[in-house]
Amino acid sequence: MSRLPSLKPLVLLILFNYVVIIFGSHVFYTIQVNIERILRPLPRPLVGFVQAVVGLLLILLWIFVWLYLYKHLFLREMRRGEESSNQV
């Protein structure tokens, strides 16, 4: 575990995904229940469609942030590596 500090960007990514899995599912569930409550007067297939679209958008948002974080952190490390090799 002494290696953890030097693995900081990857540890951050794992913790980010962990938090999304643990608390995101509750947020996801609450949003779905509220959509059903608000749209109750509308036909059932339409409510289901809205729930599916919102669910998909939330998952895409998670994947987008995950992808952005990973690329950003990786490119930052590559730049740092280049800078330190230029200094040498």
Partner: protein
Amino acid sequence: MLENPVLVAAASGAIGLATSMLTLKYIARNFIKLGISGVDYHKPGRPRIPEMGGLAFIIGVAAASIPAVLLNLHASEVLGVLLTVLATGLVGVIDDLKKLGAVEKPLLTAAAGLPLILLHPYSGSLVLPLGIIFRIPLIYMAVIPGLLAVVSNSVNMFDTMNGTATGSSLMVLTTLTLTAALKHFMGGGFDILLTGLLFSIVFPPMLVLFAYNKYPARVFVGDTGTLSIGGALLAFSVIQGCEIPLIISLLPHLTNGFFNLSSVGRLFERSELKERPIVVSENGTIYANRDLKAPITLTRFVAALGFRSEKEIIKAIMTLCALSNALTILTVALGLW
């Protein structure tokens, strides 16, 4: 007395250990002569190493399953694991002998989920964190092939350095078993005898495989090994109802697989890559490839963080796996799942 579950589990463990050990000894001695070998690119001198060591895992699991199936002790659950391992292992054998295409492999591994669906040794409920339970038997059935393709191919893509796929899978299997045991003792309704039986069938062959595959590798597991190990992990967690613990434990694998795909922009085979993610110098020092077209794999990321030798990179990757497995156990212990 013969039907005592503890005795059956012990017998299964001993049979699995012995058969996988004998098979691996045979593979280590004869597969190079038979032309079934691969090059270890991360070592100076690039030695040839026997391939398809995963056959020992498949044979070990098959032999270890015999006592439970003959005595009809949790037969459908044991057969569920066995047939999933055999089916994914068959896809791996075909891929090792005659390279499968980038689309064919995930499709065939998804199809390998059929035996598990037909045997139906699972509840069909998805237990999410913070006490949310979805009872979705039909959707669950439809999701199994997709999950199997994702898990098997993630383990497969994680096999970049000696022992990373086998060592991390050992950690995941142990964590899933501990999770089920913790839930049993916390009153979660888990069958600890079933957990112990499945563990005793899968763990010993995986341990023997790791002993031969760990740095410096004496045997490569091949796609035969990685796909069948992924199949075993998925079947184990589906039968136990531990899907979320499996996902948390596999976070490094999923991150690696996901970014392999997203940086290339499509499904691909490793042999298709024009730019390798890492560069290995003559003396074995490893550098992250600076070409922006190279896939951003976990190994490349770890190399970019300054880990230079194969051994250092393996230790760094295993540290990340240990962290995600520790998070899984913490989640269960704190009652979050």
